[in-house]
Symmetry: C2
Subunit: 213 residues, 2 copies
DNA sequence: ATATATTTGTGTTTTAGAACATAGTTCTAC
DNA sequence: GTAGAACTATGTTCTAAAACACAAATATAT
C-alpha cells in the first residue's frame, strides 16, 4: 500500500516497544503521538467511568492498529490501553502517517475503512450493553473473545487467560455477576472452566442466549 | 476542499430530497448508496435492540454528513434514520465520494476526522449509558440536546420538540422513567416544562447531576 | 369539529442486578 | 518457600429501574 520512498521513511521512523503483562501502553487524557501496531500479545482499550469503574471498549490482537483515533480527532485520548500479556508494539509518529495520507488515497481509504468498521461495532455495542441482560452480555463476550483470539489446539478452549474482573469489565457487570453467571453456564453444560481457561461446549446455545439478550 | 472539476461532478450528481416529519430516511439492513448532507431539519439515527426497543445513537443538525459509515465499512446499515421534523437532505452517490477520496487527501482527512470524532463520542457514550443512573443520563441528554440544537430566543428553551419517548430512547430508559425524572427536575427547579418545550433553569446543576452520574 | 389514537402523568408491584459479607484458593514477590 | 495480596466463589440484603395499570390530556385524521 506504500511506495518505496514511503516505506523507507516508515522504516527509519518506526520504533519497536515491549510491554510487560498489565503494563500501561497509553493513558486517558494523554496526547496521542504515535500510531501503534500490535505485533505480539493481547491488548485492552478501556475507559474508567462513574466511581472509577472500568469498561473495556475494545480488545486488540496481532496485527491490528490502535491509538490513532484521538490524534485524528485532535483530542487527548478518552481511553487507556494496557497489555493483557507481554506485548510487542510498533510505534510510528502520527505526523508521518498524516503526511502519507495527504497523497496516498489507498492508505486514506484503509484508515477510513477501519474507523468505519469500529464505529459500526461501537454503535451496536451501545445497544447490546445497555439492553441485554447479564446472561446475554456474558454469552456475547465469550463468543466475541472466541472470534478475536480463537481457540486452542483442542478446538474448544478460548485462547485467552482473563481474570473474572476483566470478563466483567468487558461485559458491563460486576465481578460477582461474571463469576456467578459463569458458574450457571457450567451447570447448564454450556461451558466448562478450569481456573481461567474457558472451554465452549455448546456454542449454539451461547449464540442463542446472546441473541435473545 | 474540492477543485473545479470535482465541484462540477458533485453538482450534476447531487439530488435534493425532502422528508416529512417522522418519515424514514434509511432503514436497518438496507444497502448504503449515498452520502447524505442534512440541509434543513433534524434527524435521529437509531437502532432497534432487544424486543424491538429502540435506542437513539446519534442526532443530526444542519449541516452535518451522515449515512456514509456503512458504505465505507462495506456492510449494510446497522442503524436507521428518520426525520424528527420536516427535512431537506442532499444525496450524493458514495461511489463518487470514494473516487474523490483516492486523489483528494484533504477530503480524505476530513472524513477521517469526522469518523474519529464520532468514534470517540461512541466510546464515551458506551460508558455513560451503561454506568450512569437515570438522573445522570437524562441530565446528560438535556445538555446534549442543548449543545446540538441550541436555545430559542429566550435563551433558555431547548430548540427541539421531542416526545418523551424519544427523550427516553436517547437516554436509555423507559418512557415512564423519562417522564418521572423530568417531573423531579421540575420539582427541584432545575428545568420547567410546557408540553414538549423544556426550559433549562439551572444548567450548572444539570452538569453536576450528569457528572456524578 | 369531533372521534380516535397517541402521549403524558402517577401510583403500585416486581425484579434484575448491585452491594455487601465472608471464606477458600491461587498468584506473585521477596 | 513462604507471606501477603489478589482472585474466585457463594450466600444474603438492598435498591434502582422496569413492568404494569389506569386516568387525564393532547394530537391527528377524517
Amino acid at each position: 500500500m506504500l511506495n518505496a520512498a514511503e516505506r523507507d521513511q516508515l522504516r527509519s521512523n518506526a520504533r519497536f516497544v515491549h510491554f510487560k503483562k498489565n503494563e500501561l501502553i497509553y493513558l486517558e487524557d494523554e496526547n496521542p503521538k504515535d500510531l501503534m501496531i500490535l505485533f505480539k500479545g493481547k491488548v485492552k482499550i478501556f475507559r474508567s467511568g462513574v466511581g472509577g469503574r472500568s469498561q473495556i471498549i475494545r480488545i486488540m490482537r496481532p496485527i491490528q492498529f490502535f491509538g490513532y483515533r484521538a490524534y485524528f480527532a485532535r483530542e487527548p485520548y478518552v481511553t487507556a490501553a494496557s497489555a493483557f500479556e507481554a506485548c510487542t508494539v510498533c510505534k510510528i509518529p502520527m505526523e508521518l502517517i498524516e503526511q502519507f495520507l495527504r497523497t496516498n488515497g489507498e492508505l486514506a481509504l484503509f484508515f477510513i475503512r477501519m474507523l468505519s468498521i469500529d464505529l459500526g461495532i461501537a454503535d451496536q455495542r451501545v445497544v447490546n450493553l445497555t439492553q441485554k441482560h447479564v446472561r446475554g452480555r456474558l454469552a456475547e463476550s465469550l463468543l466475541f473473545l472466541k472470534e478475536t483470539y480463537g481457540l486452542e489446539e483442542d478446538g474448544a478452549t478460548i485462547n485467552i487467560y482473563l481474570a473474572r474482573e476483566d470478563l466483567a469489565n468487558l461485559s458491563n457487570m460486576t465481578t460477582s455477576n461474571a463469576i456467578r453467571t459463569l458458574s450457571n453456564f457450567v451447570n447448564e453444560r454450556i461451558i466448562t472452566i478450569d481456573g481461567r481457561k474457558i472451554k465452549i461446549i455448546d456454542e449454539e446455545r451461547l449464540h442463542k442466549i446472546s441473541r435473545i439478550g
